[in-house]
Amino acid sequence: MQTRSIKTKELSALLDQLRAAGVEIIAPARAPGVGRAVVYRRVSGFSDIIMGVQPRGTLKEHFLPASERILGWRRGGAHLELLEASTDCAPRIVLGAFPCDAAALEVVDAVMGWDYRDEFWFNRRQATIVVSIACDGGDESCFCHAVGLSPGSTRGADLMFVPVDGGFQVEVTTGRGQAWLEEHQEYFSEAGDSTQAVAFQERATTRSSQRPRPHMESIGRWLKNNFQHDYWDQLALRCHGCGACTMVCPTCHCFDLVDEPEGPEGGSRRRNWDTCQAATFTLHASGHNPRPGQGARYRQRILHKFSIYPARFHELLCTGCGRCSRVCSSGMDMLELLGEIHDMASITEPTTSPEARNEP
């Protein structure tokens, strides 16, 4: 694939042109309201976009909304009419996805297309060009290195921008990205000198790789063998079960289906985000709950990410974005947790190479 570059001014013009053509632009920008947090949202132009700050929300809500209607019904007398929701999606572009967020889309593709192909998800995926922007290396909660990614990872992105003076170096990573670039090539220029871009990437990699790097395979093995372990209840003591970690996780994708009657005549079936951290997630109608305590629920989250999902789809359900640690109001920390499991695994598996953790 080729490398090109784009000036900020040109990018701005490109976005204006896309918007005029009816393409929806999703990019990091400040949310409306009191918090003014940066989130991925629909923007009207380049000036809305805020780069270099990891958004609080993730990209997933643009592919799997927090709540969406998937079916409706209307009743008149004995007649029942079913109203299917459209799965169509107009063309969109995500501009400025963090590499960890772009990668997450591809990670979740596996489950969305597994035993049943989720039309809502894939139609949105197909209608969307994902342009990521190389990360500067993140903060102390980031651990993309540990899960096989990096600040410059291009996974899940059709193109990646690397910040350089006055614009971006553009790396094309997919055929779709190539085609899209060619469609809009008037806005792009030749790659030119790559020194700045390489330096940016090196700085980011250095920052990122200085953080602990727990060994995921041995963690996976330990998890498999330690379903019953005092660690879980100890770990979950401070956890409120609020589920904020799952809500801001780019790879958490569990949902609930609810039927909402809207009067006697009709209603909607909706798909809503759900969280394994809630007691109601597994509560049976009988009142029995197979995951009765926060320990069991927290274990489920860890197992799903680092044992169950890898076993089924051969990859981790985590891109190391660190949002779970940042959002937690009681200071649960994913990197710390993985380190602890790594240590426990090292005791039971003394063969684990110490280099793998790369402790500073």
Binding site: A31, G33, G35, S67, S141, G241, A244, G331
Partner: protein
């Protein structure tokens, strides 16, 4: 600090409690700490980053804490008001808990904050700190601290909202509530939200729709506020936990002002004071009733 650590160690050594819930340094600022062995007591700290209301961990809904029934909890003066509500609402047995009070001069809004406490960084609830010397506690540690820096942003914000038209206010809240993703983190962290099955999880009938659409979100945020009227102690944990940053504290504070104005009730550390809803006076004002 040593005073606190020594006390925690002693309580555990003497078998007075099974666990001491306090604060420790975490990877990102201060976080709750759970000390079950005397030798762990040295991890306990207390400073102006200790914003968390640890009384939440006394709520009966913390089933995973049931293995440690006798708990000591580190509380600030304001936190004791939450203890009072749990006592009043029959949720804890005073005999089972040891309250370690720490004299507090205000806390940052964020547990990750650094530097001195300023009017900018101080938690909203510190603005009207009224319990400098908590009486409900079993132990009171630390030296007297100066009063926290003043901060009236919450009250100002409420004033601003009140001066708006209904339409403007509605727009403001629609904007806020439309971000809600119905994770119910606000409920989970609230020391007063202890229901076995929250009304929002009741399905027959489903009064509050679980979908994150404006209708369901309005219903949830409205009823949540209503259910906390006269019970909320203003600890702000809900707002701190909200992953989308909805200013829930505004709603809670507003209703606290309402029950103060009309029923002369303010959150208190006295469990004997009846809550304003569930009690009444036969001469309560009723100018809004025809």
């Amino acid at each position: 600090m040593k005073e606190l650590q020594d006390l925690a160690r002693r309580l555990l050594l003497e078998g007075r409690v099974d666990i001491v819930i306090g604060y420790q340094q975490g990877p990102r600022g201060v976080r709750p700490s759970f000390v079950t062995r005397p030798e762990q007591a040295d991890a306990l700290i207390f400073d102006e980053r200790c914003v968390h209301n640890l009384v939440t961990y006394l709520s009966p809904r913390r089933a995973h804490l049931a293995a440690w029934p006798r708990r000591a909890v580190v509380v600030k003066g304001c936190d004791t008001r939450a203890v009072a509500v749990l006592l009043r609402e029959s949720h804890i047995d005073r005999e089972d808990i040891v309250l370690i009070g720490l004299r507090c001069g205000g806390v940052h809004r964020s547990a990750e904050a650094s530097g001195p406490l300023t009017a900018e960084s101080v938690a909203f609830r510190c603005a009207d700190c009224s319990i400098r010397e908590p009486e409900l506690v079993d132990h009171l540690l630390g030296d007297p601290r100066p009063a926290p820096p003043g901060n009236s942003r919450l009250a100002e914000r409420i004033g601003q909202l009140e001066s708006m038209s209904h339409e403007q206010r509605r727009e403001f809240w629609n904007n806020e509530f439309s971000r809600c993703i119905r994770c119910h983190a606000c409920r989970q962290v609230c020391p007063m939200c202890y229901c076995e099955r929250c009304i929002a999880d009741k399905t027959r009938p489903r009064w509050i729709e679980s979908s994150a659409h404006l209708r369901g979100n309005t219903a949830w945020n409205m009823i949540r506020a209503m259910h906390l009227a006269g019970r909320c102690v203003g600890c702000g944990e809900c707002g701190r936990a909200c992953p989308v940053g909805i200013p829930l504290g505004l709603l809670n504070r507003k209703l606290a002002m309402v029950v103060d104005e009309h029923f002369d009730y303010r959150a208190t550390d006295d469990p004997e004071v009846p809550g304003p809803l569930g009690s009444f006076r036969s001469d309560d004002a009723e100018e809004f009733i025809v």
